[in-house]
């Protein structure tokens, strides 16, 4: 059972919920179809699982379909995904044929007759070929398109240009396109296990079970064991700070058993940490949301020292716990942190170490950053803002090109 809209009023205020209902009234009965490539796992499915019931509650006739494809199709779309992220991948003629064939199969089985069709990411993008007259189509890109492999982007671009609008998570992720592009950041759910309030006993019990001392300062990075998250850089920064400040370091992330590269990074982290009992490298299952929530709440400082990042929603999760966050100024992180106001942005190991020391030694400033960060998330990165932006986009489709729209 998922929470209804009113359950969000304590976080965003009743007037904000009223505004969502006002928008819903103007879209009542409109048929909206979301299409992505997976019903479970991944950020897109996670957000649709929450947004679709809320859109329905608001009277918007929303459904969610998932395309079907074989292993070969998903291997091709994974390659497209990586190429759009800038990894040196090319598509063979066979790859293109597989993509087109699966698109055709889905066009034969999916009913595409809704007023608005909302396509998520490249996998189902080709379905635009089945566009019904009078319908509006949106392409929602969750990928950083700032430096794609040109040949792969040129393969996808003509398809994207057939849409009415494209949605990106950060301005630098977008491309020059002849269609409208809007900025809609992802969001976190304050009611999810990862973010909801926890009592002090639960937090202490989880922290203790992980071998941490709840009485001493704790610096934590929550992330996959991935080189782009620079966990080894975090260890170096901790060591520099540790010369002057007593503290513990926790590197905690999802299990890396099916990812050889991740396993190698995890092993390196453990090797690097072996001589310091205050460094804790912890692997948790993907379902350990309450544990992640607890360690974030128990931490004195949270770090997200990414070298490359998508939107980096772990930053919003950390800020929501009113914690001072030190993060790499990459991807969507600068949208979440205004340097020295709602957190700290760094570019180097030394800079990260400097700020760990500063924040451990200046708890009032650290608290101020954390409080600002929580307010910033409250107004910009909660699920209700995401819901509002999607409804505004649906309304905008009837007013393309306009800048002031009056909804009497």
């Amino acid at each position: 059972m998922t929470a209804g809209l009113d359950a969000y009023a304590p976080f965003v205020g009743r007037a904000t919920i009223e505004e969502l209902r006002l928008l819903g009234e103007r879209l009542r009965g409109r048929r909206v179809q979301h299409i992505n490539s997976t019903a479970v796992g991944g950020g897109v499915a996670e957000i649709l699982n929450r947004l679709v019931p809320l859109l329905l509650e608001l009277g918007i006739n929303t459904r969610w379909d998932v395309i079907r494809g074989g292993d070969e199709f998903y291997a091709v779309t994974k390659a497209i995904h990586n190429a759009l992220h800038g990894q040196p991948v090319t598509l063979s003629e066979h790859d293109v044929a597989v993509y087109r064939e699966t698109t055709e199969q889905n066009l034969r089985t999916l009913a595409l007759s809704d007023d608005i069709v909302f396509i998520h990411d490249p996998q189902p993008a080709g379905l635009i070929a089945g566009r019904a007259p009078g319908s509006h189509w949106i392409w929602r890109c969750h990928i950083d398109l700032s430096a794609p492999v040109p040949s792969v982007w040129e393969f996808l671009r003509p398809t994207v240009e057939r849409y009415d609008a494209a949605v990106f998570s950060a301005p630098q992720f977008s491309r020059t396109l002849p269609i409208d592009q809007v900025l809609i950041a992802p969001s976190i759910d304050p009611l999810a296990d990862k973010n909801r309030e926890l009592d002090a006993r639960t937090i202490e019990s989880i922290v203790t079970s992980l071998g941490l001392d709840p009485g001493r300062p704790l610096v934590t990075q929550v992330s996959r064991f991935d080189r782009l998250k620079d966990p080894l850089g975090v260890i170096e920064a901790y060591r520099l700070a540790k010369k002057y400040n007593d503290c513990q370091l926790l590197l905690v992330g999802g299990s890396a058993t099916d990812d050889p590269e991740g396993q190698a990074v995890l092993t390196e982290c453990r090797d690097r940490a072996a001589d310091d009992r205050d460094i804790h490298v912890v692997e948790l299952p993907p379902t350990a949301n309450i544990e992640i929530n607890a360690v974030q709440r128990a931490s004195t400082v949270l770090v997200q020292k990414s070298l490359r990042e998508g939107f980096g929603l772990t930053v919003a999760e950390a800020l929501w716990k009113a914690k001072p966050v030190i993060a790499g100024a990459v991807g969507g992180i600068p949208l979440q942190i205004t340097h020295k106001y709602s957190g700290v942005l760094t570019h180097t190991i030394e800079g990260t170490a400097y700020w760990i020391k500063q924040l451990l030694n200046a708890p009032d400033f650290a608290r101020h950053l954390g409080e600002n960060g929580r307010e910033h998330v409250r107004h910009n990165f909660l699920l209700t803002r995401h819901l509002r932006d999607y409804m505004l986009l649906f309304l905008y489709l009837g007013h393309l090109g306009q800048s002031v729209i009056t909804l009497d």
């Binding site: 301005p171 491309r175 592009q181 900025l183 809609i184 009497d408």
Partner: protein, 225 residues
């Protein structure tokens, strides 16, 4: 004497915005000012106003996107300070505001031999505000009702009546002052609201300041919502 009831109620509207990406970006001041000369006025509005709702807890700094980028990314502190000090409330239209912003940058560029370039990934991205305005269910006929509703409406509603209607919709006064003066015969209170520089408050601070003025006029401190 203050009329007990206005002939027509004040209906609170709200303003919600969707951010449109323009695809324009600038890495140095020359590119920055060139785009500022040619972008639609709604882009100027976005970068001088969206922070008021989005970064409300950060007020009084940073003052606007333009000054923030110039100061924090290009580290052109003098120019950043001048852009921050532009008295937005004085400008009757977005074109006048644009002229002032461009003029300040042009003047500064005349004194600069070399331009600093933003580090990769920290370029300025020009964005556009698509504004949706719609009536809320909140309305008031008396000053006390006005105060009661003002406590409940969103920041978007306050922003709409104080900023949006004047600069983007083209009214020559803010909506609150106009109604207070014309419909409630409260010229002094209207003038007090008009005199506020809304750009130097957080949205919540602005709400409380407005309520303070009204409560003073009512001669009572009404219970807070």
């Amino acid at each position: 004497m203050t009329p007990a009831m206005a002939p027509s109620p004040f209906r609170f509207w709200t303003r919600l915005t969707l951010t449109r990406l323009t695809g324009r970006r600038a890495a140095d001041l020359a590119e920055f000012v060139e785009h500022l000369r040619t972008v639609p006025a709604s882009v100027i509005f976005h970068h001088t106003h969206h922070f008021l709702v989005q970064h409300q807890h950060l007020s009084p700094e940073p003052p606007n996107d333009l000054a923030f980028w110039v100061t924090n990314v290009l580290q052109e502190d003098r120019l950043g300070e001048r852009l921050a000090a532009i008295d937005t409330v004085q400008f009757p239209s977005l074109e006048d505001l644009r002229d002032r912003v461009v003029g300040v940058i042009d003047e500064y560029l005349e004194t600069r031999q070399e331009l600093r370039t933003a580090p990769p990934g920290e370029e300025f991205h020009f964005m556009d505000a698509i504004s949706f305005t719609l009536p809320t269910g909140h309305q008031a006929r008396t000053l006390a009702e006005f105060a009661r509703e003002l406590r409940q409406v969103t920041y978007g509603a306050i922003a709409y009546h104080l900023f949006e209607s004047r600069l983007r919709v083209g009214s020559d006064d803010n909506d609150f002052s106009r109604w207070l003066e014309r419909d409630l015969s409260e010229p002094e209170l209207a003038a007090g609201v008009r005199k506020l520089d809304p750009y130097t408050y957080t949205m919540e601070g602005l709400r409380q300041r407005l309520l303070g003025l009204i409560e003073l006029r009512l001669g009572t401190t009404a219970p807070r919502a």
